[in-house]
Amino acid sequence: MSVSEIGQSQVAAQAGEPLLRVRDLGVRFRLPGRIVAAVDGVSFSLDKGETLALVGESGSGKSVTALSLLQLLPYPLASHPPGSSVVYRGEELMGAPDRRLRQIRGNDISMIFQEPMTSLNPLHTVLKQVGEVLLLHKGLNREAARARTLELLRLVGIREPERRLSAYPHELSGGQRQRVMIAMALANDPDILIADEPTTALDVTIQAQILKLLKELQRELGMAVLLITHDLGIVRKVADRVCVMTGGKIVEQGPVEAIFAAPEHPYTRKLLAAEPKGRPLRAEAAAPVVLSGKDVKVHFPIKKGVLRRAVDYVRAVDGIDVTVREGHTLGVVGESGSGKTTLGLALLRLISSQGEIAFDGRQIQGLRSKQMRPLRRQMQIVFQDPYGSLSPRLSVGEIVGEGLQIHGIASDAREREARIVAALEEVGIDPGARHRYPHEFSGGQRQRIAIARAMALKPRFVVLDEPTSALDMSVQAQIVDLLRDLQARHKLAYLFISHDLKVVRALADEVLVVKDGQVVEHGASAQIFDDPQQPYTKALMKAAFELEAVESGVVSM
């Protein structure tokens, strides 16, 4: 950029130019044999004190857009076509020297990421992580950096910040980690905060708290926030304006109220319609009991000393009674760490537990693994993470067919093939793709494959362990519909584990609210959702449906 151009843009800045203006931004990735345009002709602007949301599904290019503002993409694999322009306070950032960009990164424009687990260095204490930013950009000395760090931790609502200074990331909960991330991002009073799915990996209760915190901080510090999310609920709650992205393009932008009231582009309408909805099936109340557990307990010993004697127990599940009837869905809700998943695994006898567990009236607690094997085909599980639950080295057909083979369900290869095809068709995966490997499928498709694996055995009882939590909002809706459809067709009994009450409401006809391994509230779904009795349940509801944080101490902080 020549000197005269800089002069011109500074003039423009004084004449009411927005804080950040992005014009015709494009990003291309060079892949073996082809070039992919991940972002194409994106233009938007961001004013001081404003919250702009970039909304879209995975692969829509919203994160790539955010990363290219600070040019954090893997260059030269990525490139910006000529004409792309990012102007910050009248200064063109596209093609700016590295030195200048480093000054801006983390100082004027900072970022927080989705995964608080991996965005903090596990070997550094909180003081060191936050203090590093201060030492680097502000040139503070150690004492001043420590004082400022404390101030920041207090600002982001970490309790007892003095004690937390020397804590390592693994000693903090997910919400606390995200708060530390935010503290790091705020350390230099940035003008713009880019938040890339800041709450996706968190519990609904924590999500509400973090959103509230971001809103408060924005009001106090007058920052502009660029919020990237797939969740329209969050957009409605915190954003002023919204850009809807798909296929690397912005298809619609405008004030939040306008877009939500009168969406123009069909894609926006599709997104708005895509919330897990519908009602659970009306199952017969007197349907036979498929699985019941009485006083189920899972205690993990805490061992100490040379002799490794158990000094105490972690009571992950502490005396829970459950009953699941044919064609019914029992929703198990609670925050992370409340023992939901452990309960599911214990009922399937995948981890050892105490208490009575009966399947079809027959006691299965204490059966040996050989004796359990014939029962396994009747009780199945679907996991949360569709990326970790499929073996990367087996083809989809092999994955789905494994259970058939183990239980000798199909007499020959042809019949097995037919069953695999049928199972894949039932979950809406093209059976012609059965010779492909899992990594060629999107998250939603993988979750369908995981469901097909469970369904191929024609089970009677299925544990669904947060099957929708790792998926985009619109895909969640499809998976919920699929599950409901399968239940209706096969009279399946579901144990549906989730922290997301929206999904639970769409599927469960009975709800078990769990906290610290114990049942807090139990009842028919309609009753719990319409008239929750316990403060814990109320707090969960508020967080899930209104994104409101309740900070009375009933939920974790």
Binding site: S58, S391, G428, I429, E440, S442, G443
Partner: protein, 391 residues
């Protein structure tokens, strides 16, 4: 890609056409076919295989290429196959009841009178001493001895062919055996963990600390080493190579969700180890295999070079190198040994790399991101075919 219907050319999300996958005319599973495509995509390894295969096959038939006996004798209207069978000299009208020496002019004359002989390409075996040399051995390459003779007047070309066969067989045998032992040991340690793992790890650490060359030298002075004793001795020390890698893969994999899913399906411990964890450990194993193979060949060669290897007179590349060192004035010895060994090891490493690629499903699809998430109208009454790629 060879044909339009091969699975690689089908865009993601669309069904490949119903087409039987064929390899050289044999119907194979689509998985095998894709591995073959992966293998072929590595051009260097693919060509190395095509160079190595004929060399290996020819060296396996060493007796028919380099021998001091004719392949076929036609004598008095009847066929004789001296390569495979032993005939006494009296059979051809000679005097001794010992095996006929077909290189003896007397015997040759006897046979030529009543019939004819078909000689191999190189009419010398690895131990045949040529007594009709013009100068004292080692002699330089000429039309009679293509690669010259060694210091005992034996044909170098014949010794190289036999030596290659011995090296290849030894290398493969040692690699296969040490891989099997190593994978089993690593798998058991990694999967079960705990005390088994702890004890086995300490044992391996001590075992690896033993100075194996000295032990081999000491042992070879006590017993006369042959092919199988050497194989056993080297196996004692080479099985540990793979244990660490396989153990690490098993330790990592046993907590994955898909392992848990298999347990929920009712798969047994051994079934899980074989079907789910082992394939994951296979790439690491295959990464090491070419190095074990080349290491095995090198180990045999170096023992031969030092004189602690195969019994004297055996055709071996190490012995050839040793002669090259002892006879600097005859550079064809050392150079032949060097080039043969270098070519063999290079080809094997190239092939090993291609095999590794073949078993890595991510390799073929490197750079292809998973398809973007699709949102369909939620008014989906019943399941439809899978969401297709971007419409």
């Amino acid at each position: 890609m060879p044909d339009a219907a091969s699975p690689t050319s089908v865009p993601t999300g669309r069904a490949p056409q119903a087409q039987p996958w064929r390899l050289m005319g044999i119907a194979v599973s689509p998985m095998t076919y894709r591995r073959w495509l992966n293998f072929r995509a590595n051009r260097r390894g693919y060509w190395a295989l095509w160079i190595f295969l004929p060399i290996m096959l020819l060296s396996m038939a060493a007796e028919f290429i380099a021998n001091d006996k004719p392949i076929l004798v036609w004598y008095e209207g009847a066929p004789y196959v001296p390569v495979l069978f032993t005939y006494p000299e009296t059979e051809f009208g000679g005097e001794f009841e010992l095996e006929a020496d077909y290189r003896d002019p007397f015997v040759q004359d006897l046979i030529d009178e009543q019939g004819w002989m078909l000689w191999p390409l190189i009419p010398f075996s690895y131990e045949t001493v040529d007594f009709e040399l013009d100068s004292p051995p080692p002699t330089a390459p000429d039309a009679r001895h293509w690669l010259g003779t060694d210091d005992q007047g034996r044909d170098v070309a014949a010794r190289v062919i036999y030596g290659l066969r011995l090296s290849i067989l030894f290398g493969f045998a040692l690699t296969v055996m040490s891989s099997i032992i190593g994978v089993v040991a690593g798998a058991v340690q990694g999967y079960f963990g705990g005390l088994i793992d702890l004890l086995a790890q300490r044992f391996i650490e001590i075992w690896q600390g033993l100075p194996f060359l000295f032990i081999l030298i000491i042992l070879s002075s006590v017993i006369v080493p042959g092919f199988f004793t050497l194989l056993f001795l080297l196996l004692l020390f080479s099985w540990t190579t793979l244990v660490g890698v396989v153990r690490a893969e098993f330790l990592r994999a046993r907590n994955f969700d898909f392992i848990r899913a298999s347990r929920a399906l009712g798969v047994s411990d051994w079934g899980i180890m074989l079907k789910h964890v082992l394939p994951n450990a296979m790439v690491a194993t295959l990464t090491f295999m070419p190095f074990i193979l080349t290491g095995a060949i090198t180990a045999l060669t170096s023992l031969d070079f030092l004189g602690f290897g195969l019994p004297p007179g055996s055709p071996s590349l190490g012995e050839l190198l040793q002669q090259g060192k002892a006879n600097i004035q005859a550079p064809w010895l050392g150079m032949t040994g060097f080039f043969v060994l270098a070519a063999l090891l290079t080809l094997l490493v190239f092939i090993g790399e291609a095999v590794r690629d073949a078993f890595d499903p991510r390799k073929l699809w490197s750079g292809s991101a998973p398809p973007p998430e699709e949102s369909e109208p939620v008014t989906q009454a019943k399941p439809k075919p899978a969401p297709q790629g971007a419409e």
